[in-house]
Subunit: 292 residues, 2 copies
């Protein structure tokens, strides 16, 4: 594939930084320019070689850019799009790494409406509780999935080129509608994050929190790992995808109410069946039987 | 410390097998005798050197035994105690590894009531989703905690000797009342297991389960790791500790209802505060600030 010329990364943390490093590792980019909210992060990213230089305004950043990746928490998409729109030339492609797609696409329609041909939304499935430029690594996306939710207005060549960029990170590509994307990730990602935050928060607020944490072990550690995730990012995701997330939360609370009934009746047989079905499903998943 | 003579392990899986291997690795046991439900497991344990020989009846198993460890799922405690009681001599100590303590102690009072001086209940905090003799290892308890819930009827020398055995596995020892034990573990262990089983079960039952699992990633994998736990063991724990577990479940459902309200109001500030507090508490825990 033809290497990219200048690539602009807005948000040089785990997600944006790893995208840059993946292209760099394969010699597929001439120059990476960073832009973002905090100069300290940009300086750190340059120091680490994640970016080659950084810009502090969009006019400079976008000058001669072939591709822009928007890799900030989704709550910042709207403001960033407003700021970049006046400087975005017709030959610069844009993609994003937002964890939700309906709200990002709404922001595109409101703020980049003269650029719909060239903006191709995406979501790489590669979360990690670490964040910031120091967490970035060239192989973050290797073997992972990237969901692409193209707009009907996208130029086919724009979609093809953005796909090339994501594929170059080592990820496999999957097309979805934004609605389907947001429902799927509400179930398998956003809800589990909410549940983990909820458990840790609830325990931390108790008078005997110290004793409880003192006896928490490996199961608790793994169950709550995602409660160490970036709070602002998850605030944005939760608010942006709240309709799908509320539906998932209600479904889950209904499941808990059913389990509550089994427990209070001491119905060991039904609990055993439920636990066994869960374990079997999880083992089948781990064995790759549900690979998309 | 003085090595143990003959140690009997009832249930030669992860928990019982690792106890045996730990004593063996330190040369602290003359002979380990296994007993249990399935001959295949006993044969496998002997093959692996986890036990030296096995017995198929309690009279043989208990003959000349210094210490018995009951390491079966808690639902089997009552039946096992009934079977062993007639053959239990006054000089044989008994401990257990049951994940719940109130029900095990009730079973002791009903079935080993002439032996209360010599039966010292315990719970090693060392779960793992693996089970069976092949999962056993000498270092499972190293650096872990063991909770001891002595009976007021226990002989001090019996408690001291059982403490020696558990300490020899490399674990640190912590005394608690059985009620306190069951409340603490309902919160930090039993509830998280129930929540993980619930999520996997709920998703596995959907028409698009295949798609959902297909896009589940690392966060989901860690969050649900404990849903690969032994279903029978967790059925027994859930039923045995259902009163404390129901209280925990209700507290958690209340927390979810509150989060639901924040979500439906789109209250990003409160969600951010909640997520940040959860992350901070978890990081403090990981940093060892809550070590008992």
């Amino acid at each position: 594939m033809k290497p990219f010329g200048r690539v602009v990364i807005c948000g040089v943390g785990l997600i944006g930084g790893s995208f840059a490093l993946a292209l760099k590792a394969r010699g597929l980019v001439r120059e990476v320019v960073g832009i973002g909210r905090t100069t300290a992060s940009l300086e750190r990213a340059r120091e680490l070689g994640v970016i080659d230089r950084f810009a502090t305004d969009w006019a400079t950043a976008l000058d001669g850019a072939e591709l822009v990746l928007l890799a900030m928490p989704v709550g910042q998409m709207l403001g960033v799009m407003q700021a970049m729109a006046p400087h975005l030339g017709p030959d610069t492609l844009v993609t994003d790494a937002g964890s939700t797609k309906r709200d990002v696409i709404e922001a595109i329609y409101s703020n980049l409406k003269s650029h719909l041909e060239q903006v191709v939304p995406a979501h790489p499935i590669a979360g990690a509780e670490k964040s910031g430029p120091d967490a970035a690594r060239a192989d973050l996306y290797a073997g992972r999935k990237v969901v692409i939710t193209p707009l009907s207005e996208n130029r086919p060549e724009a979609v093809a080129r953005v796909r090339e960029a994501w594929a170059a990170t080592g990820a496999s590509l999957h097309d979805m509608s934004p609605q389907e994307h947001d429902r799927v990730f509400a179930a398998v990602s956003h809800l589990p994050h909410l549940l983990a935050f909820a458990l840790v928060h609830e325990i931390a607020g108790r008078a005997n929190a110290e004793q409880l944490f003192g006896f928490a072990a490996g199961g608790f550690r793994d169950f709550t790992r995602i409660a160490s995730s970036h709070p602002e990012m998850w605030r944005d995701i939760s608010v942006a995808n709240r309709h799908a997330l509320l539906a998932e939360l209600d479904t889950y609370i209904t499941e808990l109410a059913w389990i509550r009934a089994l427990l209070s009746q001491g119905d060991g047989d039904s609990l055993l069946k439920l636990f066994s079905e869960a374990r079997d499903a999880r083992e089948a998943w781990l064995a790759g039987r549900f690979d998309a």
